[in-house]
Amino acid sequence: MSTAPTSGAPTEAAAEAAALRQALSATPRPPRPSALSAALTFGWRGMLKVKHVPEQLLDVTITPVMFVLMFTYLFGGAIAGSTGDYLQFILPGVLVMSVLFTTVYSGVALNTDLTKGVVDRFRSLPIWRPAPLVGALLGDSVRYLVAGTVIIVLGVVLGYRPGAGVGGAVAALALVVVFAFALSWVFTTIGLLLRSPNAVMNAGFMGIFPLTFLSNVFVDPETLPRGLEAFVDVNPISHLVTAARGLMEGTAVGGDLVVVLATAAALTLIFAPLTTRLYRSRG
């Protein structure tokens, strides 16, 4: 076999060839990684992307800040009589809304990823099938956490006081992130069904926008027309908002918590396998 040197002195080429042979000499195949380890590795991939392009975090930091300021100072006086009272009412709702808006991007990111050759490599690896998806969503959960933290901190700076203290705020944040993780599976499914990232974004916001506004984020549902009130009362996002408010204020929330966690479990059980199946078969 001829190893035609393509550059440099023959000795250099020989050294290169030797290094190549060394690198090629069989690396034995280790046991395959556990499902958790594979998923965490994909989560690490998500973190690396944020590290290389930190601007990606702008949408999860600037947008929530805008929401808090706009809704508090624009509607506060009109709806609650004072901006301070309204902030106390709206902050848990804006927390829910901002984090849930961010979940649409999980679908957009997956759709973008699919246009790249690297997905073929992932799909041809002997790993736990949903690992790339679970890992990506674990990485996205960090983004949800960032968005949520920004909102709570900003709220406290503007005068919001959680009745249940830091513990209550942390519990509310955790609940919202868990629900967001579950809801993300809906958008990853959409991300695999539609052709372009833009289509995913449009479809995603067309769904999430009315669902968050037609809830108890901004107003007391009792002020609404009866039909609308009925919808708002069954909207799972209302239950999430009520649960988040309850956790932050330290009031009882048992029933709402059950509804929220059951909805999250149902979304995951339906859409996670669906996403995995679509990811496997899209080819």
Binding site: S2, R21, Q22, R45, L48, K49, V118, S124, L125, P126
Partner: protein, 327 residues
Amino acid sequence: MTAHPTLAIEAIGLAKSFGATRAADGVDLAVRSGSVYGVLGPNGAGKTTTIRMLATLLTPDAGSARVFGHDVVAEADAVRGLVSLTGQLASVDEDLTGRENLVLLARLLGLRRAQAKARAAELLEAFGLADAAGRLVKHYSGGMRRRLDIAASIVVTPQLMFLDEPTTGLDPRSRNQVWDIIRALVAEGTTILLCTQYLDEADQLAEGIAVIDHGKVIAEGTPAQLKASVGSGALHVRLLDPDQRPDAERVLVQELGAAHAEPDPAALWAQCADADRAAEAVAELARSGVRIAGFSLGQPSLDEVFLALTGHPAEEHATATQEEPAA
């Protein structure tokens, strides 16, 4: 190299349609373990579809295939543990650095953190990418990306490697580097299925070749057998000035009945088995003022084989996707 009694790939009647298009229409392949096997055909012939079925990324509509005895559908996971894939789109993550790409794959293949880092460093060094290890892959040149892609495929040595057009779009120097890597891989015992639209590439590397067109294998054999099946020799002429190619073509048509352009803009060839007539044609070129850099009379090239087998030249398709500068 140890002789395996089994075949690395055995495909029977593999078929896959996308809508009304029959991308693969009954592909049969038998690839001996330890060799480079070339699958040769123009764009859209069904090469990539065939590879994707063999690599478990697509489920065949009909037919069956085994990789080292494992069925690609029923035992997909076992197959995934034996193969690795270098796709037509580079199968690396552009938004990560070269090192991160290799560490990511090493971790996914089960190496521990320290082992993964060491393996990545070793591969970057061997593939001449050590200096670029910390740079994002989107800033890599085409040749660097290909080398990283192949490095990513051998983080853990695969038994069978699919290379889908590994040199498309590369300059000649990077292409030679990739060829050296392929030769070294085979010397270490890996079986390679090489899809290419460059006949020259299959001729250089492959021990057996299947020529595929419209989703079917239309010819199969060693490069020598395929050439012999066409049966005649050819006169190859290289010109000093590519602008004179039309003149040269006219002369050769007149002398030998037909002439064909080659991918190299300064080269052309004509079918001709007789040395005297070839000499006469070259003399006529010189008389008519065409300046010749070199000429040779030899066996037909695979380009000619393809023309003879399919009735249309391979480059017609190939040039459409060729990004390679003529420099």
